[in-house]
């Protein structure tokens, strides 16, 4: 789960990390009030879960409260990469001496949280990594022991020479580690970590991603999810415990398992079609999930055909068949459905579908080709 910048800032603040003043606003009036309180020139920044906000006009400089209100009214309600902006962050446009990058990431290779710091901050860290990897210092933390004092110091020494800066940054490393661990993050990033002309070290911008698997046991984190900034069909899917990503094609896909779902999309493309979505109904599916999946897919007007590709393991194919039958009883599906089912309880599944006059297939390539052909016919 991606947190908004203002939410990430709040978690950093709770951990004691020094930050510029500032707050989040939902209306131009609120933005104006924050700008007045903060004083001086401020930056008004769109809070949406996409990159490239600046280029899209979602980040603006305002020299006074009136301008802040003006900027906010321009940004609030605008659409960036398909997402509507509902909140803006208003922070001082700071005088900055240096900019560094500090990130903490759950790393697959070392199987540990790994710090990455660079004194080339403020820019896109992916670019630094690609062009000048020697400017990035990496350090894996053993979570059994936690971040050691000498490790935090080593990271701080990679960024600063001045001992006051080093001391401040050392403390921030410990605090960021605490934020990461105590919130079940998979990423916690300060970019940039800045020094000011008067010698302070402050976090200017923050990004935190929470491991979705933590949310069940961490209701305090789950409530941070801001669904207003997301694609509504994806929100609807998540609420139904489905993993759904909307795409631009016309073949709606309902698949169990992320790998098979991706392979299904690949095969749709292979046979000349375009997938309308990624949709994984997951394991242990029950009929209800299938009904919800069909509701979400049929709501997309681009969809010309619906392709089920279910290989039963922990998922029972009879559950899926029952779901398809239940859905078609609840609402009329206007587009053709191509069903491929095989695996656990497959015989029962075929019987269930046959009993309502629906046909099912056994072969993935045949089903995908047929779905692509039907989509082309309908186009």
């Amino acid at each position: 789960m991606n947190l908004h910048e203002y939410q990430a800032r709040d978690l950093l603040k709770v951990a004691g990390i020094p930050m510029f003043d500032g707050d989040v606003a939902s209306t131009p009036t609120e933005a104006e009030a924050i700008a007045r309180r903060v004083g001086g020139t401020v930056v008004v920044k769109a809070q949406v879960h996409v990159g490239g906000r600046g280029k899209a006009g979602g980040v603006k400089l305002a020299r006074n409260p009136a301008e802040a209100s003006e900027c906010a009214s321009q940004i609030l309600g605008m659409t960036i990469k398909g997402l509507v902006v509902n909140k803006v962050l208003v922070v001082p446009a700071a005088e900055i001496a240096t900019e560094s990058y500090v990130g903490l990431i759950l790393d697959r290779a070392t199987q540990r949280p790994v710090f990455m710091v660079s004194d080339a901050g403020g820019v896109d860290i992916e670019e630094v990594a690609a062009k000048t990897p020697e400017k990035i210092t990496k350090l894996a933390v053993d979570p059994r022991y936690g971040l050691q004092p000498h490790q935090a110091l080593t990271l701080a020494l990679a960024l600063y020479r001045d001992w006051a800066h080093v001391k401040a940054a050392t403390r921030i490393m410990h605090q960021l580690y605490t934020v990461f661990m105590s919130n079940g993050a998979s990423l916690a990033e300060i970019n940039p970590l800045v020094t000011t002309p008067d010698g302070k070290v402050l976090a200017l911008d923050a990004k935190i991603i929470i491991d979705d698997n933590e949310l069940d046991r961490r209701p305090d984190l789950a409530v941070l999810r801001d669904e207003s900034g997301e694609e509504p069909s994806e929100v609807q899917a998540r609420r139904a415990n489905l993993t759904f990503i909307k795409l631009d094609g016309d073949v709606g896909c309902v698949v169990n398992g992320a790998g098979l779902a991706m392979a299904t999309m690949d095969l749709v493309k292979y046979y000349g079609g375009e997938p309308a979505n990624f949709l994984d109904i997951g394991g242990s599916s029950n009929p209800e999930k299938v009904v919800n999946a069909l509701k979400i897919i049929t709501a997309d007007p681009n969809v010309k055909v619906i392709l089920f590709n279910i290989f039963g393991g922990i998922t029972r194919t009879d559950d899926v068949a029952n779901g398809i039958v239940a859905a078609t009883k609840q609402f009329k599906v206007e587009v053709p459905i191509v069903i491929r089912l095989t695996g656990t309880n497959e015989a029962e599944a075929f019987k269930i579908l046959e009993s309502v006059g629906m046909a099912a297939m056994n072969d993935m390539d045949a089903a995908v080709s047929k779905a692509v052909a039907l989509a082309k016919e309908a186009a």
Binding site: G51, G103, I105, L106, D107, R108, A109, Q111, R112, V114, M116, I125, E126, A129, A130, P133, I136, K138, D142, P143, R144, M181, G184, S186, L187, I209, D211, N213, E214, D216, R217, I245, L247, V255, G257, A258, G259, L260, M262, A263, M265, D266, L267, V268, K269, Y270, F278, G283, S284, I310, F311, G312, G313, I314, T315, T342, G343, T344, M364, D365
Partner: protein, 290 residues
Amino acid sequence: MSIWIGKDTRLVVQGLTGREGSFHARQMIEYGTNIVAGVTPGKGGQQFDNTVPVFHTVADAVAQAGANCSVIYVPPAMAAGAIQEAADAGIPLVICITEGVPVLDMTVVMPYLQERGVRLIGPNCPGAITPGEAKVGIIPGSICAPGPVGLVSRSGTLTYEVVNHLTRAGLGQSTCVGIGGDPIVGTNFIDVLAAFNDDPKTEAIVMIGEIGGTAEQEAAEFIKANVKKPVVGFVAGQTAPKGRRMGHAGAIISGSSGTAEEKFAAFEAAGMGIMRRPIDVIELLKAKLK
């Protein structure tokens, strides 16, 4: 046995009396797997289906029923504890089916297991099957057949898809291992590839990867350097939109973007057969197996 599981496997099912545990335990028993015990705290002393003794702890299952392998079906928040319990009880091979285990839990589980020399497969994996001998997990036994092909995969259902093609084409399997697609898994491609390479019953290997991370590239390098048997590979996610499934962070650390094309290129560099579709496995393997 071919690799890791087989006729000598004496399985304990952690979470036996739960919905998933009991359903799949019955499927495993039906397949012929020797389930010697179940563990559900609070149900020690009961019998499952009048045949399998249930214990409060894995230690009891080891001491009283001689379990030497564990499969885990407990809820995600309890999975780390269940894995560590099995390790403490002296179980050398633990297979965790549970999906949704918090990744930070796994950062602690892994050194716990390494200190005890315990192999974990998973979490969030379909398990493993040595056709005709034993299945541990949820891979449908009906789609498998004994034979010379070793299969290793990060996916669940995609594994079934490929195994299904193999069996229909008369290409049986030595062992199929689903290692799981979570960021941190106990057993990686290289572990399984090394075992297949050393297994006299395995003559060719199928590797099923996904986008994200660099496990496939590392596996390809291992194959190039060490594996003497033919290997064919697939990567799911060739058409996945960029930046939606992979955080950019892992990519920075590894210096890789983790795309399917990058992985296929690594496969080619390692001299592997390239599967553009799951079904391609048949022709590729038939050509390699004389």
